[in-house]
């Protein structure tokens, strides 16, 4: 196992401003923007960072959230910075770029994790070799004290043996090809999360990791658990669904981050959609 100690540093996580703030809201006359889906994620991340710093004050491990804004007016940009400070979101880096420059911007700022509610953006990032995951919308039902991250067992546990069962469920060859690339993007992110998770005990941890295998067999799950362990992460929770609908389980797990390696329709199988 690689010694990642030299690489421990902040987990630079990029979010877009239209996920942090609700821009569709009709509230346009105030100085501040109303909060959006990513709000509870940021709060949970702050809680993790705080606990890490409490343990070792010189700790450089932790999340560093940066904000990416595309095509915003000067007024919006101003509102954004003001709102970030008002809500105490702890974001100090803002990057403004054009629509088509998103990937380049992410790469140039050494982003280790890109979170978005937009599946197309996530796909583009994954194709460029960046670790990207879905910000899961739970309609404000999150608690702020525990950051929950889900990994897909189907992608991490993917092998030539599991290929057959996935084609049974309706996945195409192209989709299966993306699994392999998606898997390798996540390795660094997984090892950083693992490093953070190890700082806390089994119980009362502000960070909780989860493995969900939606279609693969239990052996795919085992393969995923072992791979994650190799990369430095022992997950807290694991679920194997064998084709059962994901949404009821996700409603109980209530994740902030859902990394499914670009699998669309994470809630239902392609054949059922």
């Amino acid at each position: 196992m690689e010694d990642t100690k030299d690489h421990i540093g902040p987990l630079i996580t990029a979010l877009q401003y239209n996920d942090i703030f609700d821009l569709d809201s009709t509230q346009t006359d105030t100085e501040l923007l109303p909060v959006g889906i990513a709000f509870s994620f940021i709060k949970a991340v702050q809680s993790v960072n705080q606990r890490l710093v409490n343990q070792i004050s010189t700790e450089s491990l932790g999340f560093e959230v940066i904000l990416i804004a595309r095509e915003g007016s000067e007024v919006t940009k101003e509102k954004m910075v003001k709102s970030v400070n008002h809500y105490g979101l702890g974001i100090s880096k803002f990057y403004f770029c054009k629509n088509e420059e998103l990937i380049k911007t992410l790469q140039s700022h050494k982003v280790k994790l890109f979170l978005s509610t937009n599946r197309d953006d996530i796909d583009k990032a994954l194709q460029a070799g960046l670790a990207a995951a879905l910000l899961y919308d739970q309609l404000g039902q999150h608690g702020f004290d525990k950051l929950k991250v889900i990994f897909s067992g189907d992608v991490i546990g993917f092998s030539e043996d599991s290929r057959d069962s996935l084609t049974d469920f309706g996945f195409s060859e192209t989709q299966l090809k993306t699994f392999k690339t998606a898997k390798m993007c996540m390795k660094e992110f997984v090892s950083l999360i693992g490093e953070m998770r190890r700082r806390f005990g089994r119980e009362d941890s502000p960070l909780c990791t989860c493995l969900i295998t939606a279609w693969g067999s239990r052996d795919v799950s085992t393969s995923a658990l072992k791979t994650l362990r190799e990369w430095g992460l022992d997950v807290d929770e694991a679920f194997c669904l064998a084709g059962a609908p994901c949404s009821p389980i996700l409603a109980v797990v209530k994740p902030h981050i859902l990394w499914d390696g670009g699998l669309h329709n994470a809630g239902d199988t392609p054949a059922q959609s």
Partner: protein
């Protein structure tokens, strides 16, 4: 019965480091005959799990599916971190069967036969492992499932969180656990549930027919009559039952499960398998046939539920009857009876429902 998990590993078949798939044909299950029939169909792949809404979903915890005494002790004496370390160290040692194991095996036998008769149907038993163990233990649990060749493809390891939300998400029809509190929470949510304990000895059970036995009051029926008995004694109880003979009893927590068993039974009858139906149900009640039992039978009939055998003990001990039946599981609301059954080696499960829970002084 061999209880030491290490001794379960037989000879040179020690666990490989990568999990064997079930297609390795290394079956040690008692249902080999049925399995051969299945393989003759030319099917080499595992069948797909049914959709939760179509299946009869049975959720079992790891502590009732397998024996985990040693591991429990480590947890209780040394705490969770040491417990997890122990589990990971022993990851490649499969656990021995627990009290729910024979029941689960019998469910699988029924499934094999249902699939043969109705290949396109999803009305099957679906067994889900629901445990509040951490996922660290996952590899060992899956290794154990593989070792015993169980058809369990679905699991929830909740890492310490309550499993109740997941039971609902799976549309669970029956939940079996070693933790009485979790079972009570499930019952409170309207999910049939029972606590199981590892008996010191276990009598042999059928390998071809699933046998499920139920107590009447506070299990299939509500505890209304039992309340009368506990509060006012036996005579009042009889009087009350006689007066209300034609009033249906209210339903109890396991009524729904009996109903589902009945539905599957009818599928076998439809294909000419009434006499040799692989599911058989029993009522084992302290009521007496001549008097208080009538109300029970009338209620079952009004509900459209056929129970294969109704045994009215008129207060006699249940042990000898259970020894004759040898059910794969027997549901009773009174710990007194559950313990009595366990002493005889019968597999009993406690349904912590109703008034009897306030009278546990018979322990």
């Amino acid at each position: 019965m061999n209880l030491d998990p290490v001794q379960v590993m037989m000879g040179p078949d020690s666990m490989p480091n990568t999990c064997p798939t079930t297609s390795n044909g290394d079956s040690k299950g008692p249902w080999e005959d049925s399995k051969d029939i299945h393989e003759n169909d030319g099917l080499t792949k595992k069948p797909k799990s049914p959709k939760p809404e179509n299946a009869v979903t049975i959720a079992v915890s790891s502590r009732v599916l397998f024996r985990t005494d040693i591991e429990q002790k480590v947890y209780e004496e040394k705490g969770v971190e040491e417990y997890l370390r122990y589990q990971i160290q022993h990851e490649n040692e499969p656990l021995a069967p627990g009290p729910a194991f024979p029941f689960v095996k019998a469910l699988e036998t029924v499934n094999i036969q249902l699939r043969e008769l109705y290949p396109a149907s999803e009305e099957l038993f679906d067994i889900v492992l629901v445990t509040y163990n951490h996922a660290h233990v996952g590899v060992r649990l899956i290794n154990t499932i593989n070792y015993h060749n169980l058809f369990i493809e679905r699991f929830c390891m909740t890492g310490g969180s309550s499993p109740i939300g997941y039971l609902k998400a799976w549309q669970t029809n029956l939940y079996l656990s070693a933790d009485a509190q979790k079972v009570q929470e499930a019952l409170a949510e309207g999910i049939a549930a029972a606590t199981m304990f590892m008996p010191d000895k276990q009598m042999e059970v059928s390998e071809t027919q699933l046998k499920v036995a139920f107590d009447g009051d506070a299990v299939l029926f509500s505890d209304e009559s039992e309340r009368i008995f506990k509060a006012h004694g036996l005579d009042k109880f009889f009087e009350h039952e006689r007066e209300n003979e034609n009033t249906l009893l209210d339903h109890g927590p396991l009524k729904g499960f009996l109903e589902l068993l009945g539905k599957l039974q009818k599928k076998f009858y439809a294909k000419g398998h009434r006499l040799d139906c692989p599911i058989r149900t029993y009522l084992v009640t302290a009521r007496s046939a001549a008097s208080s039992g009538i109300r029970a039978l009338k209620t079952l009939r009004a509900w459209g539920l056929e129970i294969d055998e109704a045994l009215f003990l008129a207060g006699a001990p249940k042990g000898p009857m259970l020894e004759k039946i040898r059910p794969h599981i027997y549901f009773d609301d009174q710990m007194f009876h559950v313990e009595g059954a366990a002493e005889m080696g019968a597999i009993a499960a406690h349904v912590p429902y109703g008034i009897a829970q306030k009278y546990t002084n018979k322990k």
